[in-house]
Amino acid sequence: MENRLAPLVENHNWFTLSRFGGCMRFHRIRKYGLALLLALLMLIVQALELTLAYFGITEYRLTAQMPDLPFALALVFCLALRTARQDTTFLLRFGTPRTSVWLSNVLSLLMAGVLYLLLSIVVNVVSGAAAVALYPQCSDIFVAQRYQLPVGEFLAMLLGDVWEVLPWYLLWLLEYTCIIYLLACCLRRWKGATIAVLVGVPALLITLIVLPTLQGVAEAVQSSDQGELMAMLFRFLGWLEKAADFTAENWQWIQGGAAFVSLVLSYLVMRGTRQPE
């Protein structure tokens, strides 16, 4: 039987057929501008701080030398909310396969985060170098030992620091992006239930762990049994310590595992969401 689809499938690769390129182009237009804007805002703030310090109005502290991960995550969160809703709907309306929409969503969020992270390094390097260059003229208002270094040496040190932490920051950004995207997909699909879980689970933990302990302490206080009270307190502190140790020792694995599970779940949640509503 003659199939008119056959030439199309034979002449194009998956990248073209799945519309992945178009999805990524759409995300580039929609997302990267915001990352650039945020970095520009950061640069303006830094420039303002430097100017104020230069004219002796405030002091300038060289603090933000690391890539700006918290702001990058905040940016990813804001973009994820928009991606899970409007952007996904737009792409699916044309009949785009969900797999490529999902993949482009996750990748574009990650890339927006990485772009901002790298731009934040540039902003920090530029503002740091400017501060070091200005230090000899008004040393009384710049507060840090590092200003006394020559600019070249300072930049080498700064970039060395950044180079050391950047792979870890990128890994964390990837992990948190997966988790944040799942959260955005859940908020898109089950808004009420997701908020209830986000608030309810910590509340439940407090109810199940902290409240019985406090109740036990209160009972022990009432019975005035100091020995029992102390023993109970130590038991609880010991348990907390063990839990904290376990979490600290295995945090990378917990975070990585949560990210992987989130990635898989985000696809399932997004795939099953009725879109457009």
């Binding site: 008119r4 499938v9 057929l17 519309r19 999805c23 879109q275």
Partner: protein, 305 residues
């Protein structure tokens, strides 16, 4: 001998329910490639649900649908052949036509950039002005231009003329016919309730009502099977005996019977004998009669149930 061709779209026993509403009810039909087909139905007939399933936005609860022989839902190969232009223009918050065309360039494997720009000019649309400031008609025109330039093997327009003025509507239908001539391999589905408006462009029609198939045929076939027969009442009754009567009307002493012939030869016979006047039935009237018949049947079923 010509090789048989796999249908551009095929749906089989498709059913879908939203809560208590049966949106699609055991729908089965197929559309051959290289045609302009009207998906005709009243508001709430199930057209949009069907199109959402066909475009992979919704998974059918029962039955199945294929694009060029491939299952649709989340199937990259099948969906690569499709361009769906919905009834509500959605630009994904893109700023202007230029950005939209750039995105579409990556979305559709058969995208024709030059044609897109040419169509935008023909629809008299500004390419860099913010889309936010466009009127509803202009927004619709942008999406129609995207659909036409997409080069997709199957392009679906859901209510294509919403918000368009008379001039733009005619221009769209002319451009659609032109596009069909340029690319005979392309299939177009026009989903609408404005039947008379699209009739001149169609090669065939699929009529649905209350989620059910009323009828499906090529337009030429409709003209041979569905007829309006008029003349002296006695003669008309005698000549049309045994045929399926959709509607009977008395106009100025003569009887008009709108009917479905059992075969095309009956029409030829009536014409040769010349005892009555016969004329092919207007597509919109035919749809109204079939929809009314379907409503009556549905009500009878409900009463029985």
């Amino acid at each position: 001998m010509q090789k048989p061709i796999i249908p551009a779209l095929e749906v089989e026993a498709l059913s879908h329910r939203f809560g208590k509403t049966q949106a699609l009810d055991n729908l089965t039909f197929a559309i051959a490639p290289g045609r302009i087909v009207g998906l005709l139905g009243r508001n709430g007939a199930g057209k949009s649900t069907l199109l959402r399933i066909v475009s992979g936005q919704l998974k059918a609860k029962d039955g199945d649908a294929w694009l060029f022989g491939q299952r649709i839902y989340n199937n990259t190969a099948a969906l690569s052949s499709l361009c769906m232009i919905g009834d509500t223009p959605d630009f994904g918050k893109l700023k202007n036509v230029k950005q939209l065309l750039s995105v579409c360039d990556g979305l559709f494997p058969g995208w024709d950039r030059e044609r897109a720009i040419q169509l935008i000019k023909l629809f008299e649309l500004p390419i860099t002005r913010p889309l936010k400031g466009f009127s509803r008609g202009m927004q619709t025109a942008v999406m129609l231009a995207v659909g036409l330039a997409s080069g997709a093997l199957l392009t679906i327009f859901d209510e294509p003329s919403l918000g368009l003025d008379a001039v733009m509507r005619e221009r769209f239908y002319d451009l659609l016919l032109e596009e069909k001539q340029r690319h005979p391999e392309r299939t177009f589905i026009l989903s609408t309730h404005l039947i008379d408006e699209v009739a001149r462009t169609l090669d065939g029609a699929v009529m649905i009502d209350k989620g059910r198939l009323l009828c499906q045929a090529e337009l030429s076939e409709f003209g041979r099977i569905y007829m309006s027969v008029s003349g002296a009442p006695e003669v008309v009754r005698q000549e049309t005996d045994g045929m399926t009567i959709l509607r009977e009307e008395s106009i100025a002493g003569s009887l008009v019977r709108h009917l479905r012939l059992n075969n095309a030869r009956e029409g030829e016979r009536l014409m040769q004998e010349g005892k009555v006047q016969i004329a092919p039935m207007n597509l919109q009237r035919l749809f109204v009669f079939l929809a009314q018949q379907n409503s009556t049947e549905t009500m009878a079923e409900e009463v029985e149930a």
